[in-house]
């Protein structure tokens, strides 16, 4: 890795907040002027995040205690914790959490297992062929989610779709709860496989080849080298992918659910984020949506925190 920030612009103390006596006013101004540049360069980005991420986050917290139907003309009413109470009483809410867990489990083969196998095998294949395979696996990532949803809907069409005619089945994939859930998982997995493969490839490229070379000099078999050297060194990459899957699985499948199944049949594909969307723009219950959003935010934040802590303790680093 690169060295820490260069000493070109030497460390400068942040400006003092307290009013200084007149005698030191000039040096203070100079100190502020010297400390200002990094903050000025950060200002546009921070301002945008402030307005479009953190302000709405705070507003959502407030909103979660209100009853409001999103119309600017109708007043919002303060209702305390009743949105949260209502939420836990609704069977949709816990069901959506459960279905999100199923979604995450179903996606792990696509984001962890297959990319690792592919990454390890890809080391044996080189030249033009490798570039072509790589482009093919990566292509679905470039297909716009809605376009991908459209073509899969077409391939899964019970009457003339490719899938049923090739498999010789008559499953109505998108209208039956079980198959619909499977379809959403497979389509989402198809979309993110290329990304995960690329991340694993980047991780493998970062592993110093001298380790495995010296291991095989010591008489280790190829499998032993993979098991005891490559995989442990790859563990930070894999835990990064695990974190992304946990946090973003529901997000990745959102456009598919929104275009293909609309959360159905009978709610079978309604995951947490689709539920939020539905509360806000389906039933125009902004308070309930905000309360659900807060719970998911806290929940996912805790999951991320625990995972990052575990990763720090359990993974191996090359240094």
């Amino acid at each position: 890795m690169t060295v820490m920030a260069p000493e070109t612009f030497v460390e400068v103390a942040a400006p003092e907040r307290v009013a200084a006596p007149a005698a030191v006013a000039v040096p203070l101004l100079r100190r502020i002027a010297r400390a200002a540049p990094p903050y000025l360069f950060l200002a546009p980005g921070l301002a945008l995040l402030g307005v479009w991420v953190y302000r709405p986050l705070v507003t959502s917290i407030q909103l979660s205690f209100l009853s409001w139907n999103l119309l600017p003309t109708s007043p919002a009413k303060f209702v305390g914790f009743s949105n949260y109470e209502r939420l836990f009483a609704l069977p949709d809410f816990t069901a959506a959490l459960g279905r999100t867990a199923v979604l995450i489990l179903g996606l792990l083969p696509f984001t962890l297992v297959v990319p690792t196998v592919v990454g390890l095998l890809a080391r044996r294949v080189r030249g033009r062929a490798a570039t072509v395979y790589q482009a093919m696996v990566f292509a679905p990532l470039l297909v716009a989610p809605v376009a991908g949803a459209a073509v899969w809907q077409w391939m899964l069409d019970p009457r003339g779709g490719l899938v049923n005619r090739v498999l010789g089945t008559t499953t109505n994939w998108l209208q039956e709860p079980g198959p619909a859930q499977v379809a959403i998982i497979v389509i989402t997995g198809w979309h993110v496989l290329g990304f995960a493969t690329l991340v694993v490839a980047a991780g493998l490229a970062g592993i110093d080849s001298e380790y495995s070379a010296s291991a095989s000099l010591d008489g280790a078999t190829r499998w032993q080298t993979t098991r005891w050297i490559t995989l442990p060194l790859l563990s930070p990459t894999l835990s990064f992918l695990l974190l992304m899957t946990l946090l973003l699985a529901a997000q990745w499948s959102f456009p598919l659910v929104n275009t293909i199944t609309h959360g159905g049949p009978s709610g079978a594909t309604t995951n947490v984020y689709y539920l939020l969307w539905d509360y806000a723009f389906g039933s125009f219950d902004a308070g309930l949506g905000a309360a659900a959003g807060m719970i998911f935010f806290v929940l996912f934040g805790m999951v991320a925190l625990v995972l990052v802590r575990l990763t720090e303790r359990l993974t191996f680093h090359d240094s």
């Binding site: 260069p6 709405p56 292509a139 070379a213 969307w277």
Partner: protein, 289 residues
């Protein structure tokens, strides 16, 4: 250029023949698995274009090659939606978002890489933590704010909230840190200020990385669905949303739907085919490290 460094482990001469045979088997296995997986991944993309090029009466045909080729579906799509306008709108939206994210990312990345300052780590965390805030939590307040600003149903309303991306900041920070520190030092010796150093020294040196990241951000913005779907509810004037025009209660018009979807993906697929090496390199090197 392969994605992965191929390592050639050293072997003792005695087991050379066995290893050679074994390694050939592994190479074949690699080709079979990767090729098979690649095919599975590409089939839906192929089927999308194949369907779009079939004659209307052949839409349900399962022949692998669409023959005779027909552009009837494209013609029908053109008659239903304003394709040139949609392409232009989507392009303008994606280009503005990518450019904005590149500029804010460059400025922030430069601040993090060139100085040491008191709130450095905290402020970096402020950028990274945006990944924890799901879009669905911020959408209602942001929608309300855009409503007040009167920018609902406009491209401006789609662009403005997306002008800063944590991904751009993180990637550019790590690129900027790899710029030799002597270079910045020399620029200071020449009497250049921080602002002019950024544009005359840093940016020219960072050109390949900026281009690769720019393409990635453009692709992301082009494929963006959530926010345009919300802001442009009434007008549907970007490609991703126009697809809904062909899905109706009286059944889906698969031909024109596939044609429009194909057009929606084409620029991005071409961009990737032309720049594959650069994008992958830029992605791998900027290293999620």
């Amino acid at each position: 250029m392969t994605l992965i460094e191929v390592t050639t482990p050293a072997h003792t001469p005695s087991d050379g023949a066995v290893v050679l045979r074994e390694s050939r088997v592994r190479t074949v296995l690699g080709h079979v698995v990767l090729g098979g997986l690649g095919l599975l991944c590409i089939v839906p993309v192929y089927w999308l274009y194949a369907t779009s090029l079939r004659a209307p009466e052949d839409i349900y045909s399962l022949r692998p090659f669409p023959w005779p080729l027909s552009v009837a579906s494209y013609a029908e799509a053109r008659d239903t939606v304003d394709l040139p306008q949609l392409l232009l709108n989507t392009f303008v939206m994606a280009a503005l978002i990518a450019l904005g994210q590149l500029v804010t990312g460059l400025l922030a990345g430069y601040a993090f890489a060139a100085w040491r300052f008191r709130l450095q780590n905290t402020l970096y965390l402020v950028f990274v933590a945006t990944w924890l805030v799901p879009f669905q939590v911020t959408m209602v307040p942001n929608y309300a704010l855009l409503n007040q600003l009167g920018t609902l149903n406009t491209i401006t309303g789609v662009v403005i909230p997306n002008l800063c991306s944590a991904l751009a900041v993180i990637m550019l920070r790590s690129h900027l840190r790899s710029i030799p520190h002597e270079l910045l030092e020399a620029a200071r010796m020449d009497g250049r200020g921080a602002w002019s150093t950024l544009w005359t020294v840093v940016v020219p040196n960072l050109w390949p990385a900026l281009a690769a990241l720019g393409v990635l951000l453009f692709i992301n913005a082009w494929n963006e669905y959530f926010w345009p779907a919300l802001v442009l509810q009434r007008t549907n004037n970007v490609l991703q949303l126009a697809l809904h025009s062909f899905i109706g209660p009286e059944g889906t018009q698969w031909g024109p739907l596939m044609a429009t979807a194909g057009l929606a993906c084409l620029p991005v697929l071409l961009l990737y085919l032309i720049l594959q090496r650069r994008i992958v390199d830029g992605f791998v090197r900027s290293g999620l490290k």
